[in-house]
């Protein structure tokens, strides 16, 4: 036993990396590599979870069907892009503006941060519930509030024409604080020298913002945007709880549609192809933003 023990310790001493990383690598491989392989395999097959026959190989048939025959898919793809573009743009503009306004001396910065954390960590199902209640067309407080400004009443998530913006507002409420906190942290680390020389050169505050602050903050903001874009493309909880993709299919994004195809109709083959498409979309947007961050454009 003693010999075995020293042999093992000697092995750990010689190969610390494989030994230390083994548990996580094995767990990740089991938990994630298996589903990835399964999804890739199923994406070129036709198979229902309820069927007794084995999967039929269809090649790229599922993908052809999605892009050329499935209106519901094309609708979902468009809504995913629409929701993501709208929500991330709102969060970016609001988040950075808030940070600029808050970047001034005052007491209670910790309190501000605490308040901003709450929407991000609150349970999404609870958030969705409260917003459903606030959006209620007849009794909701949102119509009351916009009514004070002489607007509305709106049917919010019950109206196909505005359901996506209404959902984007919820996502914006949840995640603008992330952009604000990240931008504030970035602002705190900005060097003073460029502003001093700009002042000497007689630059205006607006000029300094566009020429100095924004370029310096750019890498930070783009990483924040990257995380938001990835998560917006995959948004599920609030959409599923609030509208289940409705009214009709007016808020059925790709993730929600895939959920319905795979776990409601049990068409595993087709759902797997949709997942491959969604993954490609998320990866594409990520690589694009990483490229932008490196200053390729």
């Amino acid at each position: 036993m003693r010999h075995l023990g020293t042999g093992w310790s000697r092995f750990v001493e010689r190969h610390p990396v494989p030994v230390f990383t083994l548990p996580s690598v094995v767990a990740v491989a089991l938990l994630m590599a298996f589903p990835v392989a399964y999804t890739l395999y199923m994406s070129v097959h036709s198979w229902y979870a309820s069927s007794l026959t084995s999967p039929q190989f269809t090649g790229l048939g599922n993908f052809r069907r999605a892009f050329f025959e499935d209106d519901r898919f094309r609708n979902a793809l468009w809504l995913t892009v629409y929701f993501t573009a709208l929500a991330t743009a709102l969060q970016l503009v609001l988040g950075v503006s808030l940070a600029l306004v808050l970047n001034r001396p005052f007491r209670g910065k910790g309190l501000v941060r605490s308040v901003f954390l709450l929407p991000m960590v609150a349970t999404p199902v609870a958030i969705a519930l409260v917003w459903m209640m606030m959006y209620n067309p007849t009794l909701g407080v949102m119509n009351y509030l916009v009514g004070l400004a002489g607007l509305g009443p709106y049917r919010w998530v019950s109206n196909a024409a505005i359901v996506v913006p209404a959902l984007a507002i919820v996502d914006t409420w949840e995640w603008t604080p992330l952009i604000t906190l990240i931008t504030l942290a970035g602002l705190a680390t900005l060097p003073i020298e460029p502003y001093e020389s700009a002042l000497i050169d007689g630059a205006s505050v607006t000029q300094m913002f566009w020429r100095i602050t924004l370029p310096l903050l750019r890498p930070t903001i783009i990483v924040a945007l990257l995380f938001r874009a990835i998560d917006c493309l995959k948004t599920f909880d609030i959409i599923y709880v609030m509208t289940q993709g409705g009214p009709g299919f007016a808020s059925e994004t790709l993730n929600v549609y895939t959920f319905q195809v795979g776990l409601f109709y049990f068409h595993i083959g087709y759902a797997s192809s949709l997942l491959v498409i969604l993954f490609a979309l998320v990866l594409g947007v990520s690589l694009l933003l990483i490229k932008v961050r490196r200053g390729a454009w």
Partner: protein, 276 residues
Amino acid sequence: MLRVSGGGRDRVNPWTYVLLAVLLIPFLFPLGWMFLSSLKSQVQNTAYPPLWVFSPTLGNYREVFQKNPFFTFTVNSLVVALGSTGLALLLGLPGAYAIARFKRTGIALAILTARIAPGIGYLIPWFILFTKAKMIDTYAALILTHLIVALPLVLWVMIGFFEDVPGDLIESARIDGCTHFAAFLRIALPLAKPGIVATGILAFIFSWNNFLFSLIIAGFKTRTLPIAVYSFLSYEEINWGGLTAAATVITLPVLLLALLVQKHIVRGLTLGALKG
């Protein structure tokens, strides 16, 4: 607007606090409204225009706890969240340490891809497998699926925290004859403890809040709190007081936990990429 050097020493303009209140209220309002509604009777909740001043009642909370096995849901949520968090830390901490210490970022990048992939992509294969293995509606299945979120989180966030541990300390321990394992256990882990606590709490929050995986994998026996609250929605007449009471009960612990580790939340949410 933007302040340049010198501005920081000025006396704080009192209007700043008015401005702050105006800016912060929208972010507090929905959660505040949730809490207010949970204290209203059904009649008060269906009044229009909405009531701002009313005599509060705890009836909704009483009703929620009496009519539903809320205690069971809470236990289920706790078992799954603690189980997946504990496992993620156990499996992930040594890995994160080795990646940080020996700079093996290749492994880390592969794990990052896991963060990008859509959750349903993991859910469908596991759902098929768990159905075949008759493991649907078991704690084990729930913990394993929640681990898909928790493990990459622990690995990525902890790489950053282990990188903050001074390499000199570990070097000198090594020279004193410490094995790699002892250096990890006796030096790196204690020094990274605040990070471990923060990461653990984040993993706990993500599991506690998880909707998608639990919706499919949890059944009648293992139903977690978010799924329980979601199922209340299907009642014919929506009881807003009861719903918001339940929503308040499940959200409150998460908010309190988050405030405990607020310095590290942004770091966790961006997998260690950014600090806030």
